[in-house]
């Protein structure tokens, strides 16, 4: 399942790189890529795991950049 999510308040480019690498490692994620310029997160997730993955991705982002929010 593919989904495009918006990352609000993504201010730091090397943080985006860090987030991308960590979100890719979340269980159930097939691929994850972040566009720093467009403030978007492109997720490909195994069926049925979407909610869980987004929750974890949100934790990852908040840990790296506390103001960063995932919106969809």
């Amino acid at each position: 399942m593919r989904k495009t999510l918006t990352l609000q308040n993504l201010g730091c480019a090397s943080c985006a790189d860090k987030m991308e690498r960590r979100i890719s490692k979340i269980d159930g994620v097939i691929s994850a890529s972040i566009s720093f310029a467009a403030q978007k997160l492109f997720l490909e997730v195994e069926e049925g795991k979407f909610e869980k993955v987004v929750e974890k991705a949100q934790q990852v982002c908040r840990k790296i950049e506390p103001d960063c929010r995932i919106v969809y």
């Binding site: 090397s14 790189d17 566009s35 720093f36 310029a37 467009a38 506390p66």
Partner: protein, 615 residues
Amino acid sequence: MTKRQKIDIAVIIATAIGLFILLIVPVDNSVKIFPYIAIYLLIGYEILFKAGRNIINGEIFDENFLMSIATIGAFAIAEYPEAVSVMLFYRVGEFFQDYVLDKSRKSISKLVDIKQDYANVDVNGELIKKDPHEINVGDIIYVKPGERIPLDGVIVDGSSSVDASALTGESMPKDMTKGDSVLSGCINLSGLLVIKVEKPYTDSNASKILELVEYASAKKARTEKFITRFARIYTPVVVIAAAILAVLPPLLVQDVSFKDWIHRALIFLVVSCPCALVISIPLGFFGGIGRASKRGILVKGGNHLENMALVDTIVFDKTGTLTEGSFEVSQIVPRNSTKEELLRVCAHAESFSNHPITESIIKMYGKEPDTRKARNVEEIAGHGIKAIFEDELVLVGNDKLMQKHGIKYDSVDEVGTVVHAAKGSVYLGYVVVSDKIKPDSKSAVENLKKGGVRNLVLLTGDSEKTAVHVAKEIGISNVYSSLLPQDKVSIVEKLLEGMGKKKTLSFVGDGMNDAPVLMRADVGIAMGALGSDSAIEAADIVIMDDKPSKIPEAIRIAKKTVRIVKQNITIALFVKILVLLLGAFGFANMWAAVFADVGVSIITILNAVRVYKGY
């Protein structure tokens, strides 16, 4: 201005005033330390708080942490004014950095946004604006003059001229009327259009193109990958260097002050922040992708822009790429039959094919061929069609097909595609179908040569005569003709082998049945792909309309993007390394260090903006 920004400005101004007063009041530093701490906390509490929170979260080496250590360090060596002013300048720099970042992101987004965020629907005789997500397939929507079409559909009432420039980059409007299909993203110029929706919002053309462009900005170019990888090691290396600088020299060399070397180490900490290096690079590529999409050129990733900037060989498919691909019968030469009979046989044999050549013959025949009459129809790639028609074997195709079946045929030397026909073992004659060269093919080729493309190649399944004629007309000297589809791949592979390093090959086709070649080339370009999902899927760069002149334009945009991105990397690295060196030898102060961090990132963001402005 947001509330947040207002607070930031207030804090910055208050700190600046406080700092100024403290600097001019003639009181001893030991007394001033308390007011200094107070204004330091005012300007720095947010950074300190974030640093603390991130340490608890296990994130070290982030910008907040580095700035906190650097300024607290300055306090520790009694450089109070410096501690406060460095934090102050950092906040000012961050403020401007966020401002220009936000602004440039918004302007690129505006550049690529072709979505309409409402649709007009009729509710009890009144037009109401509705969220297009809530519109279903089959619903009727109304598009007023001046509005953008929100969803794909068919016009059921009204007529108007429609501007597709947001999709194709071409501003020539098209007249549309009842029965015509319209794509979302186009602008309705003159009359009210009533449209029956055929695709939901998220599957409509505008949403799909926007998503493609945004996704493209997430696919990293080689330069971008390199610099993010560099940034990952840069920060720890500089922080370790700072630690060594603070400790080693005072221990090894006599008569040097601890304070001085700690001060130098603190400068290193400020310069070690990685963001200035990275921030402008993705922005530059997104700018290039956005700029191109505004011109009807979809680039599916920063890496393709990089490859496009290095193009030195371009291989063109002829039909539909450099020529119109709309064929017309130019000669009908019957043998052992009549013109009417020749066309009748061809049209029936070809009634199942939707190849442009066969379509032109059916058009010439003038009647609808009876599809029940042709049986066992077999299309032989690169040869033609074999079928049973009126209980006899019918062959319609090129020389090769005639040879294969031992039919004696006229060897024809004409410009165009020659289609022979035979029924039973009797040769019926031939039809010549020819294609027009696109009006801008010649100027496109000229511009490509001027732009430094070394080798231009034309590939076609057509006869040598036609191929050479077209090639000569537009100025291409390297021609391969009479090719089967698989030959195209092997020619491209051979050309790729002969390529120099740091040079790339691009293949340009119509994306219909050349997917293998598009994939094999360094940059696959599909042309005239508006509304064709399969072509968009297979290509790296998609030209929405069918103009070859967009190719030199794409190269120009690619070169400009890459040039500016490289400038930014050079600027950032140069300033950072310079300040590190000066700092190590005691010639740089903390303000220079702050400049090397946020100052440089502001300069590079503003430079990146040039990618999509002032063309």
